[in-house]
């Protein structure tokens, strides 16, 4: 999920703690801020600290003037082959930044069936990953390189490299001799462990158990939300060594699940604050509140959207390019 969804989920968890609401009524914001920080902390650790120190054995840094996919394919295949011999290899695919808001997109596909890596350059995209019109290179060869290993795909077969920090992989041979591909090995590993969450909560509990409870709750909700996606997390590090795969119910950037989560959390926060008022001036029922604040607006939005899409010709717009490796 996006950062704001994790962030507000942490605040919502804090709002379920009566001591947090009571402290807030008395002018003390600490529990809510702790919940917010703990809610986003796992991703903050990964993206703002750990990833800069995670070493890569192979760094692929394509040149913007020389759009040759073959060396890229060769390096990826060589890494897989090396991993098959027993040595884990970490590989980083760097992005190609053309200017402040333009990036050359390329895709790397690992095909276990054919035993080959295929690479092809694509269009120029904005930082919002929107392809710029007429930006596909005129000549688009496909770089193909064979590897001598049985590969077990851990993530999607085709990886898109476009903006900011490029993706990285860990190729590692498992017990049965297959090479497993771990996407973004530095992400959702030790930082997304329930054990680490408990440890941090324990440290906070040295001051007060209430802070520890809020931190643990917010940490856990982040991990649960991440488990709804594809990558999963290493839930019990250091006991477990690998990420437990997610439920694949959504992608992290999907608009509707993100917005629904944020909106629902805001409603829960409001309700918990309201429920803590001793003699409220206004009287709300939970069902009525959810109907007015969530069900009816979402229904109206859905209906309007359906009508507007129908009026426009029937198909909602999509942003992805039609090309593929």
């Amino acid at each position: 999920m996006k950062g704001i969804a994790h962030f507000i989920s942490g605040v919502a968890v804090a709002s379920f703690c009566p001591w947090a609401v009571e402290a807030a009524q008395n002018g003390n914001a600490v529990y809510f801020v702790l919940g917010a920080v703990a809610g986003i902390l796992p991703d903050t650790i990964d993206f703002k600290f750990y990833r800069f120190f995670y070493p890569h054995d192979v760094r692929v840094e394509p040149c913007s003037e020389q759009l040759d996919p073959q060396p890229i394919a060769d390096q990826v295949a060589a890494a897989i082959s090396a991993a098959a011999e027993g040595t884990p290899i970490t590989l980083k695919l760097s992005t190609i930044k053309l200017s402040a808001d333009n990036w050359r997109q390329y895709r790397v596909g690992i095909d276990p069936g054919e035993g080959e890596v295929r690479v092809q350059f694509g269009p120029v995209v904005s930082t919002g990953q929107v392809p710029q019109p007429d930006s596909l290179p005129a000549d688009r060869p496909v770089g193909v390189s064979k590897f001598s290993a049985t590969v077990k795909q851990g993530y999607e077969p085709v990886c898109t490299v476009d903006i900011f920090d490029g993706p990285s992989f860990l190729f590692k041979r498992n017990e049965v001799g297959e090479v497993e591909t771990d996407f973004l090995p530095w992400h959702r590993n030790w930082s997304h462990s329930l054990v680490i969450g408990a440890l941090l909560a324990g440290l906070a509990s040295l001051v007060t158990w209430k802070a520890g409870a809020v931190i643990f709750g917010a940490y856990v909700i982040h991990i649960i939300e991440d488990q709804l996606g594809h990558m999963g997390s290493n839930l019990f590090f250091p006991v477990t060594k690998k990420r437990a795969p997610g439920l694949k119910w959504m992608h992290s950037g999907d608009a509707l699940p993100n917005f629904t989560t944020v909106w629902l959390c805001c409603l829960f926060i409001f309700w918990n604050i309201y429920a803590a008022i001793e003699n409220p001036v206004y009287h709300l029922g939970f069902i009525r509140f959810m109907m007015i604040a969530m069900v009816i607006p979402f229904a109206i939005f859905g209906l309007l959207r359906w009508l507007l899409i129908r009026a426009d010709g029937g198909e909602p717009e999509t942003l992805s390019t039609s090309w593929d490796v």
């Binding site: 054995d57 840094e61 390096q75 060589a78 890494a79 760097s94």
Partner: protein
């Protein structure tokens, strides 16, 4: 086999260098920000807080941090929500000074809640809006200097009812008149109690609230009694009134006084 890219890989990779002029501008900007803040700080703290007169406030002074000096005309009142309010007359007008819960608690703990007749110098931030009286918002109790009143407090000037006009709005006055009629609020209402006094054909509404009513022992005088009232002249919806804040400022004048 591990591959170390610095040994065997071709020299790919974009080289992003910042132009020198950006670096120079960055440093200049940092210098400007830090030096400017320090200079601004030194200027502000050494400038002193200006003394203003309550009667000379204008709407453009809203949010100004100012100093006021005068006499307290109303004992500090503590709100149930925790704040505090008292009135100060600096000779030009009366202004209400308000503080939050923290200031109220601090003043109470230090036994420095202002009382009527005390001499006071206070710093705060002005709040001025249309159709409302200006108020001064206390920022810190450390910025409040209090001199307790001497034993005999100066009385408010005694005026005739006919002389209480809109021009005296904000002044503290004393009046005496015959109670013509009373108006009591409904139970639970926040409306005020109103006593209409009469003197030589002139009438004046004396207005007070529940706190004063409680101080009077929940006993309102009967019409026909001679009443003495001390309070502040106010104009409400075009009508001149006398607002009384303390129970001791409202009493029945006994025969022979």
């Amino acid at each position: 086999m591990k591959t170390n890219e610095s040994n065997s890989q071709p020299s790919y990779g974009p080289q992003v260098k910042r132009p020198l002029r950006v670096r120079v501008l960055q440093n200049l900007s940092l210098l400007l920000a830090f030096a400017g803040l320090i200079l601004l700080y030194l200027y502000s703290v050494n400038r002193g807080i200006p003394l203003v007169r309550a009667g000379e406030l204008s709407p453009t002074m809203n949010f100004a941090t100012v100093r006021l000096s005068g006499n307290v005309t109303r004992d500090a009142y503590l709100f149930k929500s925790g704040g505090v309010v008292f009135d100060v007359d600096d000779g030009s007008a009366v202004i209400a000074v308000m503080g939050g819960r923290a200031q109220a608690d601090a003043l109470k703990a230090e036994n420095r809640l202002p009382r009527r007749g005390d001499r006071i110098e206070v710093v705060g931030r002005l709040s001025i809006s249309a159709e409302r009286e200006p108020t001064l918002r206390l920022q810190s109790v450390d910025q409040l200097r209090l001199s307790r009143r001497p034993a005999a407090a100066p009385a408010a000037s005694l005026v005739r009812l006919a002389d209480v006009t809109a021009e005296q709005e904000g002044r503290q006055v004393s009046v005496t008149g015959l109670l013509k009629e009373t108006s009591l609020p409904r139970p639970g209402s926040k409306a005020p109690y109103i006593l209409t006094l009469e003197e030589e054909g002139a009438e004046l509404a004396v207005v007070f609230w529940d706190r004063v009513f409680q101080g009077l022992g929940r006993d309102i005088p009967m019409p026909g009694k001679l009443i003495s009232a001390c309070g502040r002249v106010d104009v409400y919806k075009g009508t001149v009134q006398l607002k009384v804040w303390e129970a001791e400022d409202l009493r029945v004048v006994r025969a022979g006084e």
